[in-house]
Symmetry: C2
Subunit: 337 residues, 2 copies
Amino acid sequence: MERIGRYTLQLSGNTGVIGSAAVGAKMEGEGPLAADYDYLYPDDGLGQETWEKAESELHKKAVTLALKNAGKNKEDIDMIFAGDLLDQCIGSTFGIREMDIPFMGLYGACSTMALSLAAASVFVDTGAAGTAIASTSSHFCSAERQFRFPLEYGGQRTPTAQRTATASGAVVLEHDQPCGILIDKVMFGKITDLGITDANNMGAAMAPAAARTIKDFLTDTNTTKDDYDMILTGDLGFVGSELLHELLITRENTDISGVHNDCGMMIYDREAQDVHAGGSGCGCSASVLCSHIFKRMRNRELTSVLFVATGALLSPTSSLQKESIPGIAHAVHLIFR
Amino acid sequence: MERIGRYTLQLSGNTGVIGSAAVGAKMEGEGPLAADYDYLYPDDGLGQETWEKAESELHKKAVTLALKNAGKNKEDIDMIFAGDLLDQCIGSTFGIREMDIPFMGLYGACSTMALSLAAASVFVDTGAAGTAIASTSSHFCSAERQFRFPLEYGGQRTPTAQRTATASGAVVLEHDQPCGILIDKVMFGKITDLGITDANNMGAAMAPAAARTIKDFLTDTNTTKDDYDMILTGDLGFVGSELLHELLITRENTDISGVHNDCGMMIYDREAQDVHAGGSGCGCSASVLCSHIFKRMRNRELTSVLFVATGALLSPTSSLQKESIPGIAHAVHLIFR
């Protein structure tokens, strides 16, 4: 573990992914990445009484499958780093409460997969944890109820709105991995608030944070976009991704087109699935990373991915109080060796 | 950094507190620890338009004063670890958003001071951060609105209810400290849920988690209560503390009376201030630790304190859905040398 530049942490080089899982529901199962998911529920209810319990079930499933794929039992795990979008993070806490694993609760909104992965990586790389899990989840129906309106209200979504994925992703990390998907570097983001107040345009609120994190990471590491097979943002969607490109070109003279993609643009078929500006929610980037991206890395189609998940740190109360929306973006540089 | 026993992390011995601050408002200023606070606002409004903005102001004040007491500028800080009770942790995020410090958002309910301190300690001790801040806040009025009823409703509080402190605490940590208040060990807690469903009796929901963390810590470190000047729980209050004693005596044959105290029992004058079962909220244990306890440590009256802050991981939604209340307790062993 060594700090390079101002903000970036260079890991020792052998902290790696020993198992992962991506779980989704109906819409994710109808999307273009369906074949790469570990498990897809046929509906959003998951046999539970409430949407919140459904989200916890989804989270539990992802963690359970990741453990299985890693060949580990819950007793083998030293720490779990998890969080989600719901008030007081009940998607995570109720999902994992029976697992008896020391727990660091995180809040990073839609950036949580990068936040939990970065935190877990630091713990594993420094020996603070031998084996650790990073996980997150989101659910369309629980998120709509909480951030906008209950589904029963029948509210119309604006063209800039993104659809919260009903999905979860979990990663099991361990030290001393000679090969496979390895965590090379991490960077924790800074809160960035350019004064956006439209809670139906999260992409715009988060794009400045993503631009800043990408720029700081490239500066710290003295690299350019050409050093990465993919710069993968989480959940900016179509609107936010366009803004990100613009911000990086006009302010930093950096054109990431060609190498950039966004989990919110990948998870659904924009036209066929009527998702407006794309997918969002912690589970979107978590499940895209743990399904499609990890698969492509394992197939050596991608050997260097800069994963930058973005979060909008608003609450329904802050929006009602006419506050602007602070954004944040955390980065994890993954390599395949 | 070395793991001892199953759950405890032994730090290198020179990660220490280089500055701290405790901030409160009117009730805290009328309480028995008032003289030890760094700053006390004359009312709960803090000159802000809303209770939530008042909480953010409180948080900002604590961090700003801790920086000042440490002789540091915000540019000197590599990471801030913060969280609070409000939905999506807006008490923290809006409080620190202009500081431009890499941010790990945490959710641990009332356990957040121990959680943030433990996380920051691991980062500083391993060199992942050179200098880091751990902070948290709570506000009586924003918490009542969110978890129970808006104050205007005039709801009556039950005898087991605790009063959320309008307070904040912040700690600045750095490596290579030869003396002073040092972080010796940390332990991240496990979610513990014995099926308590009364959201007006948080002490009862959190006591089992505290008992488990204390028991696991004593087992891991092969120590007894006599090895500590104080075992300081956060915010169990009078009801929860009694339950903690009972649980430890009947299940673990450990009597911590004599060495145990609780921040929720210390912050207010139970009779004169009409606080029912005591104080609570992240800001309660944070500000008691950063004021009275640190002062007594610096005066060498306490040289070994096991700080165990407890959190109830419920949400208003989970309570309405008749879920039980998962508890958690994180431990930080502080020594003065």
